[in-house]
């Protein structure tokens, strides 16, 4: 043995040395090491500080349950806090730092908390820090927040990628130890689709850590043989480095595969981690059992660790936790560790067995039966132990085993609870249904032979169960020992959160008797290991303090995540600009050519304005409005929802959906329609055209397109299935552009084939198929949102950019100008047309001034509820126009309105400004507002309250139609 690296054995690759840094110091480890094993091999045990008292802490476990040895791994944007040293596969160039200490791990000022720790009992903060009142936020809380927390997380974007995927299988096996391998083998040989997942880098589970014998070979060799067979089968998927973190309804499992956490940087084509949703017809829980600590004085001094962990470091990683070891146990595991350590040449001082009697094989190591460790000496490293009989034993490491807890967390993610089994002194699974069964030690089967047989049974979906190989069993016997009562110093139940054995009885004494209350009051079980190591001890101590049984106290609720999961994995590739897909219109390229500034509108990118030179948005939009109102403008309106409605009952269907009537609409004509929700509130509006007796083209607002479609599907399928009507979204089929302005007709006429666009053949609200550009079939609608003489032209999407360019060319002589939705918005506000600001899900047709559209001759969605008292109330807010009293003032959307002489208060509130625009036509700011009893108040001067911008002024209420009230321009 050189230092603490054992001379022989282990699964590490002695030919590959890896350099790494911990707290700035360079160390060397071996391929196959974890960071924890490499540090232990370098005689580094102090790896972290605890949460509350900042106690020095070393590694406790050798797996994912580790509560103490948490480090900040990597640097810069790849830095990740709280990473378990026990799960970090060593790679060359690894950089890690200890955390929750200042200024250094060795000298941590926070450890002063320990001195006043007598006061810091469970719940102390609920009883103090209340005076003076202002001190909590200014003084106490900032100090607590700074001292609390664990690692420091990066605030920079992660340079690595993540992926998501779905998987399906007949059988998923969680855990690849003896049980899991047998289960997978049984299912795989019958031809079933099998997934075998294990959180470790290597498959084999405990067989990699323990000295076992199966089928005449070592456990490791047997496992390698089974894994090779499984790997050769096309119906088997092996998933090492994959943690099943949660069980969800209908046997869907969430999992994270750590694809590239074991390398310095992933390849550019591969993700760091991959998130899986595994849909398993059946699953087997074969994750084994977790060893428990014993609660005794100083059970947290670096060098004290679980017995299983100590022998794992020796057997698998060839790392000795010490040179002279004491074992403290209440079951056979301690003996196993003593034997293994002795075989590795480590001196074992004694086995302290809390039981008066035991038959376990100590292989010549001194056994102190009925012994108790009351204290561990040493601050940052074990120097010895003190026993209840005041004897002292010098040593540099302590192995402890308080018994075993089946790892069943996943099985209780859907609400069931485990039950206490006295025989193994652990909570074992209850039946949660045939789709998810526990096997092996996860089911409380503590002998290797039982595990192999149980795994084979659980994995047999059809046909014969495979033969069970013979093996050597280690006897299992345990007598509970939870808490060494005469402990000197602190005895920890929850290491990371510093909950001690005394906290739980105190919680009970104060009334927090329920395990859930005790957990919340003491924080035991709430650390990053979620109580994997400490919860059973906490339950036992609480049971004793309150005179209840283990089952009466019960467990806290098991919940995802089995181990913590990175945000990145769950977010997958949908981050940054890829958070949501981008939806582009068929005229996007044309708009880009015209210099459009795009704006996110839902998922769409819409052209917002088309600046020239150094115009800002207002100058650009104003110019676009003037050009359109004086000459002609072209606007992309492709995002409006378009739904093809066909069938013999299409007209009847529309009659029932809209509050106004569509059955009377002539073929070749368009009509504005208003849809209500069933509660009588306005849902959506748009222009719908009749293309044939049994064929309509409905348009919806951009925002509501999908909801209108769902609504139609619901109404048809759930209410009116007898109607002969078919409908499909054709939004994406058409590039649609508005051509508006006095020169719209002349511009369009230049590209239309044959037809003449005069008022006789193409009057206002005409809607017809035409031919353009010498043979392209298009649809032309004479409708207007801007208030100008305007058309909307729809052409098949792939031709959109070409047609838009042709129109620009045709209109060039008239000064055609592209305009965006800013200009569109200005023009609709000038015209008093309602849009999103007014169609806000709380307004009625009456509020919008559209009450007359509501037919009284037919049934339609929303008709009845619209008649309720509250929806007819004359004091409801209705749409009005508003202008500043002083034409130089700028009014702003979101301002509230008060009576001219009222002081601000909610009670006096009269409404608010819903939409605002600078009107280049009227040379002032103007808007639409929702005002109580608004239609009766045209001409009234109101106070405009804009408290968030601290700008207040007066305004005049007017008709919503600010511009061209006679609609003359429609017919220019």
């Amino acid at each position: 043995m050189t230092g603490f690296r054992l001379a022989k054995g282990g699964l590490v690759d002695r030919s590959t040395a890896l350099n790494f840094q911990f707290d700035g110091k360079v160390f060397s480890g071996l391929a196959g090491d974890t960071l924890a094993s490499a540090l232990i091999a370098n005689d580094v045990h102090l790896m972290g500080r605890s949460f509350k008292y900042h106690r020095p802490r070393g590694v406790i476990s050798a797996g994912s349950s580790e509560p103490n040895a948490l480090v900040e791994l990597r640097e810069g944007p790849r830095k990740e806090a709280n990473t378990r040293a026990t799960m970090i596969e060593l790679y060359d160039g690894l950089v890690a730092k200890s955390q929750n200490r200042w200024p250094s791990l060795d000298l941590d000022v926070g450890a002063l908390n320990s001195i006043v720790s007598a006061m810091f009992v469970a719940g102390f903060y609920y009883k103090t820090f209340m005076w003076p009142k202002s001190f909590w936020e200014k003084i106490y809380e900032p100090i607590i927040r700074k001292a609390a927390g664990l690692g420091v997380a990066s605030k920079e974007a992660d340079p690595d990628k993540y992926e998501k995927a779905y998987a399906h299988c007949d059988l998923m096996v969680v855990g690849s130890g003896p049980t899991g391998l047998m289960a997978a083998l049984a299912a795989a040989r019958s031809g079933a689709r099998v997934i075998l997942a294990d959180e470790s880098a290597a498959l084999g589970g405990s067989l990699l850590n323990e000295n076992e014998e199966i089928g005449g070979q070592s456990g490791g060799d047997w496992a390698a043989g089974v894994i090779a067979e499984l790997a050769s089968m096309s119906n088997v998927t092996l998933m090492p480095r994959t943690t099943i973190f949660g069980w969800y309804d209908d046997n869907i499992f969430g999992a994270v595969e750590r694809v590239n956490d074991h390398v310095l940087e992933p390849s550019p084509y591969e993700p760091r981690q991959r998130y899986w949703r595994i849909m398993a017809k059946r699953a087997v829980m074969a994750a084994g059992a977790e060893e428990r600590p014993i609660v005794f004085g100083g059970n947290d001094v670096p060098g004290v660790m679980l017995a299983f962990a100590m022998r794992t470091y020796a057997n698998r990683y060839a790392a000795a936790a010490g040179k002279s070891v004491v074992v403290f146990t209440n079951n056979n595991s301690g003996y196993r560790t003593a034997r293994d350590m002795k075989a590795h040449g480590v001196h074992v001082e004694a086995i302290i067995d809390s039981r008066k009697e035991s038959l376990a094989d100590a292989s010549g190591v001194r056994v102190l039966r009925g012994g108790m460790i009351t204290n561990v000496t040493g601050g940052k490293r074990v120097t010895g132990v003190e026993l209840a009989d005041h004897r002292g034993i010098s040593c540099d490491a302590v192995a402890m085993s308080g018994g075993w807890s089946p790892i069943v967390n996943l099985m209780y993610h859907r609400g069931a609870k485990p039950k206490w089994d006295e025989r193994i002194a652990g909570f074992v699974p209850t039946n949660v249904g045939e789709a998810f069964v526990a096997a092996g030690s996860a089911a409380g089967k503590m002998l290797l032979s039982e595990c192999l047989a149980d795994g084979a049974r659980a994995g047999t979906l059809k046909g014969k169960t495979p033969a069970i190989p013979k093996c050597r069993d280690e006897a299992f016997a345990v007598t509970p020992l939870w808490w060494v009562k005469g402990s000197a110093g602190k005895a920890f139940v929850d290491y990371q959160n510093d909950s001690t054995a005394k906290d739980l009885p105190l919680a009970a004494q104060e009334g927090y008797r329920d395990i859930e209350l005790a957990k919340r009051y003491t924080t035991a079980g709430m650390a990053t290991d979620q109580g994997k190591l400490g919860n059973v001890n906490a339950i036992a101590i609480l049971a004793e303090a309150t005179g209840r049984t283990m089952d009466q106290v019960g467990t806290t609720t098991f919940r995802p995540y089995y181990t913590p999961v990175s945000f990145g994995a769950i977010a997958g590739p949908f981050v940054g600009h890829h958070f949501q897909p981008v939806r582009k219109t068929p005229l996007h390229e044309w708009a880009e050519e015209q210099g459009a500034v795009f704006v996110e509108t839902g998922l769409w990118m819409r052209s917002s304005w088309f600046p020239q030179k150094r115009e800002d948005w207002l100058a650009s939009a104003s110019r676009e409005v003037l050009a359109t109102r004086e000459r002609v403008g072209l606007c992309d309106v492709s995002t409006l929802g378009k739904i093809d409605v066909q069938g013999n009952d299409a007209a009847e269907f529309l009659n029932r959906l809209y509050c106004n009537t569509f059955s009377t609409l002539d073929v070749g004509k368009a009509r504005y329609g208003l849809m209500l929700r069933e509660d009588g509130i306005v849902f959506d509006d748009g222009t719908t055209s009749r293309l044939a007796a049994d064929h309509f083209l409905m348009t919806t607002t951009t925002a509501n397109a999908a909801r209108v479609m769902s609504h139609m599907e619901f109404c048809h399928q759930a209410h009116w299935h007898d109607l002969d009507v078919q409908y499909v979204s054709v939004t994406e089929q058409w590039a649609q552009m508005a051509i508006a302005g006095p020169k719209a007709r002349t511009t369009l006429q230049k590209i239309v084939d044959g037809a003449t666009l005069d008022d006789a053949s193409f009057p206002y609200l005409a809607a017809k198929e035409i031919s353009i550009l010498g043979g392209m079939t298009a649809r032309l609608f004479r409708i207007s949102f801007s208030g100008e003489h305007a058309y909307e032209l729809a052409v098949p999407a792939d031709y959109g950019n070409m047609v838009a360019r042709s129109i620009m060319q045709a209109g060039e002589e008239f000064g055609i100008t592209p305009y965006g939705i800013e200009a569109l918005s200005i023009m609709r506000i000038e015209k008093g047309h309602v849009a999103g600001g007014e169609l806000n899900g709380t307004t009625t047709a009456g509020d919008l001034g559209l009450g007359k559209m509501m037919s009284s001759k037919k049934d339609y969605i929303g008709r009845m509820m619209a008649a309720r008292e509250g929806l007819m109330d004359k004091n409801r807010q209705s749409v009005v126009g508003i202008r500043p009293s002083d034409a130089r003032d700028k009014i702003r959307a979101g301002s509230h309105l008060l009576k001219k002489d009222d002081a601000p208060s909610m009670a006096a509130d009269q409404g608010y400004i819903s939409s605002v625009a600078w009107s280049p036509m009227l040379n002032m700011w103007l808007g639409l507002a929702l005002l109580a009893n608004g239609r009766e108040r045209h001409g009234e001067v109101v106070k405009i309250f804009d408290g968030v911008r601290n700008i207040h002024m007066y305004g005049v209420i007017c008709d919503p139609m600010h511009y061209d009230r006679e609609n003359k321009k429609l017919h220019v």
């Binding site: 209908d250 869907i252 849909m279 609400g415 069933e678 619901f714 399928q717 008709r863 009845m864």
Partner: protein, 93 residues
């Protein structure tokens, strides 16, 4: 949670949108005397702990509206029919 869409087969819950109690039925009459029925239909909901019939839209699949019978505590799905068949059956009954 997975739902067996009669048209598409079994799909996970992310493909579906829920719209609640399917026991409600849109009244046939517009007579103001039926206001109580309308109020019940629009606003009151069966909300049992246990077996529940609900409207579900296969919004990211075939876009059929379904009536799913499901346990609201265990989320177990007992049965699925299309809303169309559900409505037809109700007319007969």
């Amino acid at each position: 949670m997975r739902i067996n869409c009669p048209h598409c087969g079994t799909r996970p819950v992310e493909e579906f949108t829920f719209n609640g109690d399917a026991s409600v039925q849109r009244p046939a009459s517009n007579d103001p005397k039926t206001m109580d029925q309308w109020f019940d239909y629009v606003y009151l909901r069966d909300n049992p702990k246990g077996r529940f019939d609900e409207y579900v839209h296969h919004s990211s699949g075939c876009r059929a509206w379904l009536v799913v019978t499901r346990d609201t505590q265990t989320h177990e799905v007992f049965g699925v029919v299309t809303a169309r068949d559900h409505a037809k059956k109700r007319v007969k009954a």
